[in-house]
């Protein structure tokens, strides 16, 4: 405001010639500056996929990557997801050094190692899942987060192994388990080994299940194929983000098979909720709260159960569970 009035005052003082000269100068100054490259432009602005609104990227980030206008939930990377879910500085990563081998020497139009390198360059990650322990509102949990930006979130040996190790870690430490899925399915480049990761993770979940520990599965845009048909659908509680597309087979494959058009909202989280496949569709902003409520609810039940059974072991379990219930920030 002040500046504008200053300008006006300046204008009053200078004559018309001077004014034109200064205009020219400022225009030149503007032209000297390179116009924004597409990349810079994209870094600065993001267009909403759904409502086409042009959003200032920083605002979008502050809003958890949810469009403020239409509530469209953008895909986010593993790092952003961790930042949003875990208490600050509470995340401790497990198995950060596991990387894929090339068991089949797979070559399509490109070799598998080259495709991996390309995926890592794009995502900044080594694999499509990041696992570890963290706290959510002070509650300690085992958390795994998939990243669709890395190799389409596909599950190969490493994703399967890291997920299985996380499940076992949660079991050993009696922690609630949370897996955030986002995947195009099994990784074709590792052939049958990728398929077998479905059995590996599901088998680990069987042991975890028998330990009567809580597993919350969160499905995010998009979750398909081998991941959906294994650990993602095995949650005691299954949550999904609004609008996330979730399924076994892809839309195109189904349309080709049944030779008819599918409804527009087919395979969306809301559609799945209607069909009884999910417990809740949870907005990103409420996810932390819902998770901690669910965890506290089940921990309380576990404490009661252990207290009811007597014996020194049960007592120790009760104490441990109560400690977990008390938020230690």
């Amino acid at each position: 405001m002040l500046k504008r009035s200053e300008n006006r005052w300046k204008f009053d003082e200078m004559d018309l010639k001077e004014w034109f000269a200064s205009r020219r100068k400022s225009r030149e100054a503007l032209q000297v500056k390179q116009p924004l490259t597409t990349e810079e432009y994209c870094a600065l602005w993001t267009q909403c996929f759904q409502c086409r609104e042009l959003l200032y990227t920083r605002d979008l980030r502050n809003n958890l990557h949810v469009c403020p206008k239409c509530q469209y939930h953008f895909r986010i990377g593993a790092d952003q997801r961790l930042e949003q879910l875990a208490d600050p500085d509470s995340f401790e990563e497990l198995d950060p050094d596991l990387v894929s081998a090339d068991p089949l020497g797979f070559v399509d139009t490109e070799t598998y190692p080259n495709r991996q390198a390309e995926a890592s360059r794009k995502s900044g990650l080594r694999e499509a899942i990041v696992t570890g322990s963290c706290k959510i509102n002070g509650l300690k949990v085992a958390l795994g987060v998939m990243d669709f930006g890395h190799f389409g979130g596909s599950m190969g040996s490493v994703v399967g192994e890291k997920a299985a190790r996380l499940i076992e870690f949660a079991g050993r430490n009696s922690l609630p388990l949370i897996l955030v899925s986002s995947s195009g399915g099994a990784r074709m480049q590792e052939g049958i080994l990728s398929l077998m990761q479905m059995a590996k993770t599901s088998s680990a979940l069987k042991t975890f299940h028998d330990q009567r520990l809580l597993y919350i599965s969160i499905l995010t845009e998009p979750t398909f194929g081998g991941v959906t048909a294994s650990f993602a659908m095995l949650g005691d509680i299954v949550l999904a983000e609004p609008g996330a597309r979730i399924g076994f087979a892809g839309r195109r494959v189904i349309e080709q098979t049944i030779k008819q058009k599918l409804p527009a909202d087919f395979q969306t989280a809301e559609y799945l909720l209607k069909n009884g496949q999910l417990d809740m569709v949870v907005e990103r902003a409420k996810l932390r709260e819902v998770l901690s409520r669910l965890i506290v609810f089940h921990l309380k039940a576990a404490v009661k159960d252990t207290a009811a059974r007597s014996g020194p072991k049960a007592k120790a379990e009760t104490v441990a569970a109560q400690e977990r219930l008390t938020p230690s920030r």
């Binding site: 192994e161 049958i192 077998m196 088998s203 069987k206």
Partner: protein, 332 residues
């Protein structure tokens, strides 16, 4: 020796054989009209050639040829095996939740000293059958029917035998609405927890998650010309090569034949087929498969229930190929 096999139309790679068979047949006709010792010798020579050609042809099959054999319309299907194993087997129906998926055939049968629960995907021979069986592609109801039988086996401590021959789980609208993913996932988890022996045999096509849904077993066997893959070769070709014509390359790259999977340590045994493929001799294929299953069941029957479970879980726990790559810089 029956040279021209009416059971099966020649596959693409079998063309040279078919041509030779035609020639022999024509000569035989001539011979019948006017007996001639020279012609007789020619025919004998050609027959010898035919035998050689057949042997060399079938010992040098490309992966895509195995695929063609695995999908052969005259290949023995699950019901053919069950009927030959136990002509008095009892079929059990239904998932108890409103459906009886014909693509998943389940029953009780006896294999030598073992009374087993048998579950298998069924493709269907005639067009009517095929439609009823949905071409061997189970719906979620099929997997839930199988799960019911797995639980039955656990309750009565019966070994489980599964036969896998499916292009995959059905990719349809209602299949999605009825939660195909969850049906398969539940089977993976519950099969992992069984405390009875489980033996799975891939008899034809092992199509992805739809095959694995009844394939979490202590022992995985494969017939010589069967295939087992993470995605159909057609799907793989269209995604990675963006061309439906690259099916052969996809077959090659995915390493999906029985011998390749045995080499990878995923499969425990390859069951030999009659020369030219199981479609030539259902009896042979059924006998060889039965013999292998019984042998593995005998081995497994010495394990305790807890050991059976941990053996199966351990088998899948160690599948995978990865490296530990330590590095100093922090994770991006």
């Amino acid at each position: 020796m029956a040279i021209s096999d009416k059971k099966s139309a020649p596959l693409e790679f079998e063309q040279p054989l078919a041509v030779l068979a035609q020639q022999i047949e024509a000569l035989e006709k001539q011979l019948a009209d006017n007996p001639n010792p020279e012609l007789d010798a020619d025919i004998a020579h050609l027959r010898e050639q035919y035998k050689h050609l057949k042997r060399s042809l079938y010992s040098n099959l490309r992966p895509i040829d195995h695929l063609a054999l695995a999908r052969h319309a005259q290949r023995p299907y699950t019901r053919d095996y069950f009927d030959r194993w136990d002509d008095d087997w009892m079929e059990l129906h239904g998932d108890r939740q409103g459906s009886d998926d014909q693509a998943m055939t389940c029953g009780l049968l006896e294999l030598d000293e073992f009374a087993v629960v048998a579950v298998g995907t069924q493709k269907g021979r005639t067009l009517r059958d095929k439609q009823q069986c949905n071409f061997g592609m189970p719906q979620p109801e099929g997997y839930r029917k199988a799960l019911r039988l797995f639980q039955h086996a656990e309750k009565f401590r019966l070994p489980v035998v599964t036969l896998i021959d499916t292009p995959g789980a059905y990719p349809g609208m209602t299949a999605e609405e009825h939660n195909q993913s969850q049906a398969i996932a539940m089977n993976l988890r519950e099969l992992a927890g069984l405390t009875v022996p489980v033996v799975a045999v891939v008899t034809g096509e092992g199509g992805s998650g739809g095959a694995l849904g009844i394939g979490v077993a202590n022992r995985i066997l494969m017939l010589e010309h069967s295939v087992y893959s993470v995605i159909s070769p057609e799907g793989c070709a269209s995604i990675l090569w963006r061309s439906a014509e690259k099916v052969s390359e996809a077959c090659q790259s995915m390493k999906m034949t029985a011998r390749e999977l045995l080499a990878q340590g995923v499969v425990d045994e390859v069951i030999e087929e009659p020369l030219g493929g199981a479609q030539h001799d259902h009896e042979f294929a059924a006998r060889a498969t039965r013999e292998a299953i019984v042998r593995h069941l005998r081995e497994l029957s010495s394990l305790s229930p807890e050991k059976l479970r941990s053996d199966r879980q351990g088998k899948f726990r160690k599948v995978g190929s990865f490296m530990e790559d330590k590095r100093t810089e922090s994770n991006g």
